[in-house]
């Protein structure tokens, strides 16, 4: 038995057989093929090439239409690279003469070219190696496509263990059979972690090196409450966890019965509970859990789910679906917030080679630099708004100019729609994510120009405490309970109150029952959380009075250390709702 500690990103406990995914982005299963398979392998390689060409042509066409000729030209150049006769001849030579597998041959030849470019001593050309790696990935993805799909074609329940899962891989996990997952890398609030919460399966990330210690089919336990993965558990441990699994199950069943009851404190104050979603399908889950609308729709998953850039119609249909799930409640659509986590190939060309992605061309900055892309999304939002209570929210705003520019573009889009006589809604409320300390300092100024604030605690904490949330060596310094964070939240709430601007808290802090009495006590009346947390949050609120919450908030804000704040809040929660503290 071996216990590995990581970061708990999605609660729950599960025991089962493990499926181990390869340690590399693309594991090359065979380096050689048998002599009599050479002909068919050559055929497979040529078919792959054709599919790759087609895919690049499609990207080129889309980029040209959506973004302009200069972006299309980049894919045009990729296409020329993929059609390079010397390259193809060299790969085919290795397959037919040395019996290398197409995967291994492609990887070897492309990596040699990349090295050659890197060694030229010219910075621009050295950076082009990235384009070659991109082509390598494309070819390997097509060659290995079916094998990598094994996750999609499961027939029995498994627990997935991987070096890393991309957000799109995580999104595609078959919920019927994948009972939980754990990864060697990843942090608290990476997109993969957020998705695990959305899928409602126990997950632990940032385990460190451990894949080589397990073989497929062995028994493992994932404890998503404590961030532990137990490899080859002994009988006693297994028995203990099976009991725990049962208990978690019964608590969640009891909480499900709260669905139709209001989220009201003991003294009658209503707290609006909203859901954070990534996929249109989750809007239905929010409604089932009794959410009063969608507080944060992370639209970047439209870009992550497919290789091509989504069209206006793709956006429009997704938004319509979310609105249709619960037409009477508000839906806050956040515009593209991409750049810091894994970036899809289609966007990669727009924001290449960031020195520090967390501080680079991401989110609203990316949108303001790629106006056709931004306008496509805004058009779809305004059109979809005809059918519901839609609000638009800009992420990572760090100065007033960005807000004004974004509003101006929104106005331009409205004028275009009007001129084209396309139905849309003009009085859509506009708000910003408050997630950069600069925006907190200027909260009063921002409050004069927006309809609402949403405090994005994940980024606010990382930028305030200067902790990269995905770096395991410092992720323990990432603390929601830090006194500086509480002070920032209080500043936003008081600036908003002066100008009568609504404040919602989203991010992981508002999904954690431990912080609910504090936030309510500080004056927060709207919380947006992962859908599965809604019943727990409701349970806390229904056992709380405003006076009690205010006392808790006052005491928590008098403490000096994040650790003391969090311990105190945990203690208070265990008195309010003992069930919820596992």
């Amino acid at each position: 038995m071996q216990i590995k500690r990581g970061i708990a990103v999605s609660p729950g406990v599960v025991t089962g057989e493990v499926l181990v995914l390869g340690t590399e982005d693309f594991r090359i299963p065979n380096r050689f093929v048998s002599i009599d398979a050479v002909e068919s392998e050559l055929g497979r390689f040529r078919n792959t090439l054709e599919a790759v060409w087609e895919e690049i042509e499609e990207n080129e066409r889309l980029a040209r239409d959506e973004l302009g000729d200069q972006f299309g030209a980049i894919f045009g150049a990729h296409l020329q690279m993929a059609r390079d006769p010397k390259l193809i001849a060299e790969i085919e030579g290795l397959i037919s003469e040395n019996s290398l597998s197409p995967e291994y041959a492609s990887s070897r030849v492309l990596r040699r070219f990349a090295r050659e470019l890197q060694n030229l001593g010219n910075r621009y050309h050295a950076e082009r190696a990235v384009d070659i790696f991109d082509l390598e990935k494309r070819i390997l993805r097509h060659l290995l496509g079916e094998r990598r799909e094994e996750l999609v074609h499961l027939t029995a329940p498994v627990i997935v263990l991987a070096h890393n899962l991309t957000p799109s891989e995580t999104a595609n996990l078959d919920r019927k059979f994948v009972m939980g997952f754990a990864t060697e890398v990843g942090g608290h609030t990476s997109h993969t972690a957020i998705l695990a919460g959305a899928l409602e399966i126990p997950a632990v990330v940032g385990l460190g090196h451990c894949l080589s210690d397990v073989s497929g089919g062995e028994m493992v336990i994932i404890d998503g409450n404590h961030g532990e993965v137990i490899l080859e558990p002994d009988e006693a441990t297994l028995a203990k966890y099976r009991v725990l699994e049962e208990r978690v199950h019964s608590v969640s069943q009891r909480l499900a019965s709260l669905k139709t009851l209001p989220a009201e404190t003991l003294d009658g104050t209503t707290i609006t509970l909203l859901g954070n979603i990534e996929f249109p399908e989750e809007a239905e889950v929010c409604r089932e859990r009794g959410a009063g609308g969608i507080g944060l729709y992370r639209t970047e998953f439209l870009y992550l789910e497919q290789d091509a850039i989504p069209t206006e119609q793709d956006h429009f249909e997704a938004y319509r679906k979310v609105i249709a799930a619960d037409p009477l409640h508000p839906v806050t659509i956040r515009t593209l917030d991409i750049g810091a986590d894994k970036v899809p190939d289609s966007i990669n060309e727009l924001a290449p080679e960031m020195v520090n992605p967390q501080l680079g061309l991401r989110s609203i900055r990316l949108s303001l630099r790629n106006i056709p892309l931004f306008k496509t999304q805004l058009r779809a939002i305004l059109r979809a708004a005809v059918d519901g209570d839609v609000r638009v929210m800009f992420p990572l705003v760090s100065n007033l100019l960005e807000l004004r520019q974004a509003r101006m573009i929104l106005g331009d889009v409205m004028d275009d729609l009007e001129e084209q006589k396309v139905p849309f809604r003009r009085d859509v409320p506009v708000g910003i994510m408050v997630e950069v300390p600069a925006a907190v300092m200027l909260a009063e100024e921002f409050a004069r120009e927006v309809d609402f604030f949403s405090i994005g605690t994940n980024d606010l904490i990382q930028y305030t405490l200067a902790v990269d949330r995905a770096d395991p060596s410092v992720s323990d310094l990432y603390r929601s309970g830090d006194p500086s964070i509480l002070r920032l939240i209080r500043a936003v709430i008081s600036a908003a109150a002066k100008h009568d601007v609504a404040v919602t808290i989203c991010g992981q802090m508002s999904s954690d029952p431990v912080f609910i009495p504090l936030l309510v006590g500080m004056g927060v009346r709207q919380l947006s959380s992962t859908p599965h947390a809604i019943p727990e949050l409701k349970e806390v609120i229904r056992n709380l009075t405003i006076e009690q919450a205010e006392q808790i908030a006052a005491h928590a804000q008098s403490l000096d250390l994040a650790r003391d704040v969090e311990n105190y809040l945990r203690g208070e929660l265990s008195r309010i709702c003992p069930d919820l503290v596992l």
């Binding site: 000729d69 200069q70 030209a73 980049i74 045009g76 150049a77 296409l79 020329q80 690279m81 059609r83 390079d84 006769p85 010397k86 390259l87 070219f113 050659e116 470019l117 030229l120 010219n122 621009y124 050309h125 082009r128 384009d131 070659i132």
Partner: protein, 103 residues
């Protein structure tokens, strides 16, 4: 009798002969059946292969020799030289034979 043609051009691009210009050269060269080489000092690249051209690493200000051998060698060199002279500005001129006839 084999036709040959040769012309000297200068790279006038801030980032040198980067990816997009290289792809335009390939696109133009592919229209001709003759063999086309681009030389920079002691290195030589096949104008119909992208990776060869990239590894030529022709920086801003480099002097290159375009050399074609075979059918329509003169036209091929002329078409490529035009790309350099127009500084690769109009991508359409690289793919459509009719464009650029005004020069």
């Amino acid at each position: 009798m084999t036709q040959t043609a040769q012309q000297t051009v200068r790279v006038d691009l801030e980032q040198g002969l980067h990816m997009v210009p290289c792809s335009l050269i390939v696109r133009t060269a592919e229209r001709f059946s003759c063999e086309i080489q681009i030389q920079k000092a002691d290195r030589s690249a096949d104008a119909k292969t992208m990776l060869d051209l990239l590894t030529l690493s022709a920086e801003n200000g480099s002097v290159l020799v375009l050399e074609a051998r075979g059918a329509e060698a003169g036209e091929a060199v002329e078409a490529l030289a035009r790309l350099f002279k127009s500084n690769f500005v109009d991508p359409a001129s690289g793919s459509k034979p009719a464009a650029g006839s005004d020069r």
